[in-house]
């Protein structure tokens, strides 16, 4: 089933009425308050359970970054937990490093292992990814069990010193609980900051549609790797806490079943939802304790409860609500800063394609294609179905690798570049079948497109926290500008899936334009649109050119092509047949033959369109 649909289900929680909306917004705060006051009413047993709940809430928050935000199915998260715990234990036992002093090292160790474990999974599809992460989880556990000299083997490490704050030893249940609570707050803050950053948006887009994200300019490989690393960081915090709590650790706490339990916390709570992580931990760890009342039936009852829960609330107990706040509310109007783009020499070659060849098996989809796109022009590629037009786009943008040929953008070779790198060099595209991030809002879609223009970077995000508001303002202005450009400003808060077909097309164009490209590639933008929408589209493309964007498009609709193109390139069976002005091309014998030689409706239109074209 489509991932977009799933995400929509997850993200679209109950639409709440006014009074409950307020409750919703502050749900996390309320839960945290309850958790903070808990030690006042709880006996040691309940506190003990509470500490476990806190630990698993933390772990859930960490795994949520990998699974909930980035959509990577990690079945071996316990590995990071183990590395955090063992690093802390080893540092304090053998090197006499204190709990607090050792913490940064534990986090670092976990982060490094996140990179190591994440790296091989980058090319894998989700379920293969699952088994690899599972494998790593087991490898870590078994290594810990076998390397007795280092890790204590099956016995594990024990006699760990108690963490201290100043002179105060944290031995009581209550103090451990509060320590865990503090760590939980840190994890929550960390996760929240990530979610609201450029990286968080990038994760959302990768989760929705990785290919589209890459083509929109998101460095998907780096982003996915960061998901592992940052998810692991949280485990690097939870691990030492776990070790300190028991004063001993052994490999049996880091089994595959443990990873699965953490995953259950995330799913039961609601993927992507921070309050959900607390709720999930309470249910997954608290419920079996509650069920001790039924003794031998405890786990069977728990299994049953879990099945029921998934049946009746598959999106989790506290899923992320879809907030329909207008992102442009209160946004000041920019002074007319529509700076005309620097007078770039018109007419110089912007895109140079020479000798492009792409074979699929024995079939040459593109065979020695050569053409140029000049700055400031609107160039159309036409040709019967199967001529290789989209393949040219895919090769040029780096989505697929061509066998041979030269591609240069403003002199820069694009050979061997990944799609997102091509985008950051100034070439953006849309897809034949619209590839929007359906579960994200219109505003968020455009924001994804704007990724290459946004100042970001993790380090910068942390060190320049004070600039957050400024950055946020700038981003929103930027998004509004392009949404306004395509006429979707008032629909900014809507989900992309709610738009009409024509609007979705325009949104995709807005997303591409948001990356401020020099060259915009449109793949059949007129497909499925009615005549009035087509006119709007032609107007839009002209206006884009007015903004300084060169346009290369693939189209079947001759009226559209002839109406806006400066030049036309004709392809047939992978080869360039001819090129020239629209008038020249439609008179060309070979072109007419190529079209009429097939049962192609559009071939008939050529003569008609010419006759009816407004001059």
């Amino acid at each position: 089933m489509s991932r977009r649909r799933e995400t929509a289900l997850v993200l679209t929680g109950p639409r709440v009425g006014r009074p409950l909306a307020a409750l919703r917004r502050h749900s996390l705060a309320l839960l945290l308050l309850a958790a903070l006051l808990f030690p006042l009413v709880a006996d040691p047993y309940a506190l003990d359970v509470g500490i476990t709940v806190l630990t698993f809430a933390m772990l859930g928050i960490g795994l949520n970054i990998v699974v909930g935000y980035a959509g990577l199915l990690d079945l071996g998260y316990a590995a990071f937990f183990a590395i955090g715990a063992y690093t802390s234990a080893l540092l304090s036992l053998h090197l006499h490093v204190g709990f607090w002093e050792g913490l940064p090292l534990c986090i670092l160790a976990a982060a490094v292992s996140g990179a190591i474990i994440g790296y091989p999974t980058l090319r894998l599809r989700s379920d293969y990814l699952a088994i690899v992460t599972l494998g790593f989880g087991e490898i870590v556990r078994i290594t810990a069990t076998n390397l007795t000299g280092l890790t204590g083997g099956p016995n594990g490490l024990y006699g760990l010193p108690v963490p201290k704050i100043g002179h105060f030893e944290l031995t009581s249940q209550r103090s451990l609980y509060l320590l865990g609570f503090a760590f939980l707050l840190v994890s929550l803050g960390f996760s929240w900051a990530l979610f609201h950053s450029r990286l968080g948006r990038a994760w959302n887009s990768v989760r929705e549609d990785e290919t589209a994200a890459e083509a929109a300019g998101i460095p998907t490989v780096r982003v996915k790797l960061l998901a592992y690393v940052l998810g692991a960081v949280v485990a690097g915090l939870a691990g030492p806490f776990f070790a300190a709590r028991f004063g001993a650790i052994d490999p049996t706490s880091f089994t595959f079943l443990q990873s699965v339990t953490i995953l259950t916390v995330v799913v039961v709570g609601g993927m992507g939802s921070l309050p959900g992580m607390l709720v999930g931990a309470v249910v997954v760890q608290g419920l079996p304790e509650l069920l001790r009342a039924v003794a031998r039936w405890r786990l069977l009852a728990f299994a049953f409860a879990l099945v029921l829960l998934m049946q009746f609330r598959p999106q989790g107990l506290w899923p992320v609500p879809h907030v329909r706040r207008d992102p442009f509310a209160g946004l000041p109007e920019e002074p007319d800063a529509q700076a005309t783009p620097a007078a770039a020499p018109q007419g110089e070659v912007l895109l140079h394609v020479h000798g492009l060849v792409k074979r699929f098996g024995g079939v040459a989809a593109v065979d020695q294609a050569s053409f140029e796109v000049r700055r400031g022009e609107i160039l159309s590629i036409i040709g019967p179905n199967g001529a290789g037009k989209t393949t040219v786009f895919n090769c040029v943008t780096g989505l697929i690798r061509s066998n041979r040929g030269e591609v240069r953008l403003a002199g820069r070779s694009l050979r061997r570049l990944r799609p997102h790198q091509v985008v950051s060099l100034g070439m953006a595209r849309t897809f034949q079948g619209i590839r929007l991030f359906k579960g994200m809002s219109v505003y968020e879609n455009v924001m994804v497109g704007a990724y290459p223009t946004q100042l970001g970077g993790l380090w910068r995000g942390i060190t320049h926290l004070h600039l957050r508001r400024e950055t946020d303002l700038r981003n929103r202005l930027h998004a509004r500008r392009w949404l306004r450009f395509v006429g979707l400003e008032d629909k900014a808060a809507r989900l992309a899936s709610e738009l009409a077909y024509g609007e979705q097309r325009r949104l995709e164009i807005a997303r591409a334009l948001a990356s401020e490209p020099q060259l915009l590639l449109l793949d059949e933008p007129g497909a499925g649109t009615n005549p009035s929408e087509k006119n709007d589209l032609m107007e839009l493309i002209r206006r884009a050119r007015g903004e300084g964007v060169t346009v290369l498009l693939i189209e079947h609709d001759m009226r559209l092509v002839m109406g806006i193109s400066d030049r036309v390139v004709v392809m047939d069976q992978g080869r360039i047949l001819t090129e020239g002005t629209p008038a020249e091309v439609q008179r060309d014998e070979r072109v007419i033959e190529a079209y009429l030689g097939r049962e192609d409706e559009s071939g008939w239109e050529i003569e008609e369109e010419v006759a009816t074209r407004p001059s």
């Binding site: 929680g13 109950p14 639409r15 709440v16 009425g17 409950l20 409750l23 309850a34 808990f38 009413v41 709880a42 006996d43 040691p44 047993y45 309940a46 506190l47 003990d48 359970v49 509470g50 476990t52 069990t145 076998n146 007795t148 083997g153 099956p154 016995n155 594990g156 024990y158 006699g159 031995t171 028991f246 004063g247 001993a248 052994d250 049996t252 706490s253 709720v279 309470v282 249910v283 608290g286 419920l287 304790e289 509650l290 001790r292 003794a295 031998r296 405890r298 786990l299 107990l317 506290w318």
Partner: protein, 394 residues
């Protein structure tokens, strides 16, 4: 439509229940017990891989309580057994311990996996409650200086040297293979055995672990057997032992196959079948080889429908010891109980029980048993002069 209220409501309800029950779960906590009964806690694995051992231990506790109550109980009150599942897992064990504490137990007798007993002991230690362990053999449990720790079973670092003595002194083996299953207990016993064997000058040709649950161990056994050992000693649990001995025999291994005390269980005989014959097991004396246990065995069979496992008799004694200590102390106060326990002189089913300064059982003996005609039989033991004699029931 979207059941917003129900969402909030159900979540709140769930949390409220969890909090309420958890908070009200125990009220005062351990130390004193009100009402008309004295509660003794019995933690153990009641779920998971070792559930059969845990259930067995609980059964032993129940029998002991029944017998004590039949004689009038302790301090005029009935003994009540409170169980808690620790699933042989550290985290669950910590919570199980807390659960017992909040249900008002005055002392604890039980436990199985050393990995679970450790956090349990820590929890009881923090409250000052005595914990008499019936089956956890890992040495570190009594090496941490907790005065609350007692055990009426031997330690791995005692069984190891005993096994080595048998192998070197009685079987006169030159090459020995030791297999463990990479769990705390099994590895501990293996290490202690290998050390003792090496000191005795025996060549240890194999010292590695198998993965329990695999069922098929023929590759490892092939490797072991190809180095032609005189003795193969498996220090893991009975579930694997039966499979191992059977597969070893199928591969043509004709020499001695031995097991540690966790291998002695009727399941071994059923799985191994004729292949189990002539297997030798080092163990603390089994119920059926102790004099005076016939009534225990038959009572167990009558009540639970099958014979007792290896640790129920130790649990029986542990509970009896605790009850006796309560009676002798004249109160259920923890400190007094610990003192009383320390001075224990009890003649139990497993022999005379007293505790040394660390809480270990003084004068633990091991014997070897063997399998004949698919039944366990006493085999050899060390007499006081260090000679190997028959260990028939005295």
């Amino acid at each position: 439509m979207w059941r917003a209220r129900r969402l909030i409501g159900s979540c709140a309800l769930l949390m409220a229940i969890a909090l309420a029950v958890a908070a009200c779960g125990g009220g005062g906590g351990g130390g004193t017990s009100g009402g008309g009964s004295i509660k003794i806690g019995v933690p153990g694995p009641l779920s998971g891989d070792y559930a059969s051992a845990g259930t067995d231990i609980v059964n032993g506790a129940k029998l002991a309580a029944q017998d004590v109550n039949a004689k009038g109980g302790a301090l005029g009150k009935k003994i009540e057994i409170v169980t808690a599942d620790d699933a042989c897992d550290a985290q669950t064990a910590a919570q199980a311990a807390q659960k017992l504490l909040s249900s008002g137990v005055v002392a604890v007798a039980g436990g199985y996996c050393s990995a679970a007993s450790l956090p349990e002991l820590t929890a009881f230690h923090r409250r000052g409650l005595p914990f008499v362990m019936d089956a956890s053999t890992n040495p570190k449990l009594t090496e941490m200086g907790f005065k609350e720790a007692f055990r009426d079973i031997g330690r791995d670092d005692e069984q190891g040297p005993f096994a080595a003595k048998f192998v070197a002194g009685f079987l006169k083996a030159k090459k020995v293979a030791v297999i463990n299953d990479n769990t705390t207990y099994s590895k501990g016993l293996a290490v202690s055995t290998v050390d003792a064997l090496k000191k005795a000058g025996v060549n240890v040709v194999f010292d590695q672990a198998i993965t329990p649950g695999q069922q098929d161990y023929t590759p490892t056994l092939t490797k072991v057997i190809s180095s032609n050992p005189d003795v193969v000693y498996y220090t893991g649990y009975f579930t694997e032992a039966g499979l191992l001995v059977k597969q070893a025999r199928q591969l043509g291994y004709r020499n001695t196959f031995m097991g540690g005390d966790a291998t002695n269980d009727p399941t071994l005989l059923k799985t191994g079948g004729p292949a189990a014959n002539d297997m030798v097991i080092t163990t603390a004396p089994l119920a059926q080889f102790l004099s005076g246990t016939e009534s225990f065995v038959s009572a167990y069979e009558k009540q639970f429908g099958h014979g007792p496992g290896p640790y129920s008799v130790y649990e029986y004694d542990a509970v009896q010891v605790v009850a006796k200590a309560i009676q002798a102390a004249g109160s259920t106060d923890s400190a007094k109980l610990i003192d009383s326990l320390r001075g224990t002189r009890h003649s139990g089913l497993t022999g005379d029980i007293s505790f040394d300064a660390k809480g270990d059982r003084a004068g633990v003996t091991y014997i070897t048993i063997t399998v004949r005609n698919e039944k366990f039989e006493a085999y050899k033991k060390l007499d006081d002069s260090g000679k190997w004699v028959d260990a028939t029931a005295a």
